[in-house]
């Protein structure tokens, strides 16, 4: 067994930045795919906002409101830069789920697309909006079947030959249940060659990999703040400006309207205004920009290397437990889906959580169809992030061994 030590980041300093480990020094937090912990700098950005900069944005002229508006808009620029987009291409939302609903609703009601295509390994949030809005609007819905947990460009090519264009293809960058890194760049090119649009669900990808919206040349991208060190309740919808400015609003209310009249109202022309109806999660926006700064400071590629080492170490060690089956593909990143032949996933997670302080997740991981494709109904998932250590991996493995003694 080779334990690759990870030196990509200074783990001790990083852990010091996260107060949760001060409060629970022996917590092994391996549920990062569900949500990440938050560094002090992000927590402070939120308190600081409420103590010194809180006012509603956009519509007032006194200095406090100007401060909050500046902060809101400069955060937009920072977050846009983080994923290689322009500031007028980034809309703030509640999270990936809302982002996907906004874009699915708008593309479905535009009357411009004949088919929506989604692989069946997607998180429910990148499946249900497409399914619902296509059925509702008489658009064909194609759930691409998968063998196991992967999807090759060749398979996609074959499927797309049958699909009526113009179509929308929505695909995760990193699949939340298995950690499968999809070939979304090649698929984007392919989809474009077939006359389709692509939507990348970056909820798991953006926290782990440097993403360049312009270079990938995707049409839309969504992601969530809370999985990348920011507050809950904030996320983004990124879209090429000419597409974004064309989306039907999803939420109607203050701030997104141009002229209101009793007969019919007209809405703001830019997507960034038109799609941000009502008071936004301003502190969430501030926290997301702060999280991007922190991630940049540590370095996304260093984080990637570190997490990759941890994933490989854990994969090797898991494989040595005879009764454990790993469902993740051989090169999955940050995430390992596995189960124990003789201990139910909930029992194992419960044992690890309550007796070993090892937090992993069990269940279907909002991916019932991926579970079905793997022939299971639930499994355990361990997911890693920048503050995890090789020691954490060892504690996971030891914990499973102890569970075997307890349950069997």
């Amino acid at each position: 067994m080779s334990l690759k030590e990870t030196s990509a980041i200074s783990i001790k300093e990083v852990r010091n930045d996260f107060p949760v480990f001060r409060h629970y020094p022996s917590l092994v937090y391996l549920d990062n795919a569900a949500t990440s912990q938050k560094p002090q700098s992000v927590i402070d950005a939120v308190s600081g906002f409420y103590e010194r900069e809180n006012a509603n944005v956009h519509r007032a002229v006194y200095p406090l409101a100007e401060k909050s508006t500046d902060l809101y808009e400069s955060s937009r620029s920072e977050v846009a830069r983080f994923i290689g987009a322009e500031r007028n291409e980034l809309v703030f939302t509640k999270g990936s789920t809302e982002s996907l609903n906004i874009v699915a609703n708008a593309l479905a009601t535009s009357g411009r697309y004949k088919t929506f295509v989604v692989p069946t390994f997607e998180h429910h949030s990148n499946f249900l909006p497409w399914q619902y809005h296509s059925l509702k609007n008489g658009i064909k819905f194609v759930a691409l079947p998968i063998m196991g947990a992967e999807l090759t460009v060749t398979e996609v090519t074959e499927s797309l030959k049958e699909v009526e264009a113009p179509f929308v293809f929505s695909i995760g960058g990193l699949i939340n249940s298995t950690g499968y890194r999809t070939p979304f760049e090649d698929i984007t090119e392919l989809v474009h060659s077939f006359g389709g649009l692509t939507v990348i669900d970056g909820a798991q990808l953006v926290p782990h990999e440097s993403f360049d919206f312009k270079k990938v040349n995707s049409d839309f991208l969504v992601f969530s703040g809370h999985k990348m060190l920011a507050e809950t309740g904030i996320g983004c919808l990124v879209g090429r400006a000419e597409l974004l400015d064309d989306l039907t609003p999803f939420v109607f209310g203050g701030g997104m309207v141009d002229r209101v009249s009793v007969e019919a109202s007209s809405y703001a022309k830019e997507g960034t205004s038109r799609l941000e109806g009502g008071t936004q999660n301003i502190s969430g926006v501030v926290s997301l920009a702060s999280a991007c700064r922190y991630l940049n400071k540590i370095g996304i590629s260093a984080i990637h290397e570190h997490v990759s080492n941890l994933t490989e170490t854990a994969r090797e060690m898991l494989k040595e437990i005879a009764d454990v089956t790993v469902y993740s593909p051989p090169d999955s990143h940050a995430i390992l889906l596995f189960s124990h032949k003789r201990i139910h996933s909930h029992d194992l997670a419960e044992f690890l959580g309550r007796t070993q302080e090892v937090a992993i997740r069990s269940g279907h991981h909002c991916a019932q169809l991926q579970m079905k494709a793997l022939g299971i109904t639930s499994a355990c998932r361990a997911s890693f992030y920048l503050y995890n250590t090789v020691e954490d991996v060892k504690r996971l493995i030891e914990g499973i061994t102890k569970a075997e003694r307890w349950f069997l």
Binding site: H344, D347, E350, R354, H364, S378
Partner: protein, 146 residues
Amino acid sequence: MNFEQLYSDFIMFHFKNNTHRGRLEDSTHTVEGSNTSCGDSITLYLTIGKGVVNAIGFEGEGCAISQASAAVMAEILEGKSLEEAAATIVNFEKMIHGEEYDGSKIGDAAFFEGLKEHPMRAKCAILPWKTAAKVLVSKQQKKTGA
């Protein structure tokens, strides 16, 4: 509640004991239930005759808590009249939901009471009972508490 309380000796005994597991060839009723939030599913086989629950068997995938709960339920309900069975189920459900219930009606199933503090795991324990209720408890009984 710590792990040993949650996975009590009682629960582990019934989980490991493997009683009532398996299909009943002569069952009069077969009913399925599932807990989509965690993926558990269960199939119950009931042999009902002359107003009495004669036998119960179960198959399915689930955690120790749901499996133990199924075994205990089968144990308790077997031999009960339909009315007694319904009352037992309704009282078990009340107990798990933290409502007032009649303890005299549920026997050993009272060992599951602690789960009412753990909504995620309470769902596991209640699955077999909810499934049995589809056959054994009428809407009317649900309302009145049987």
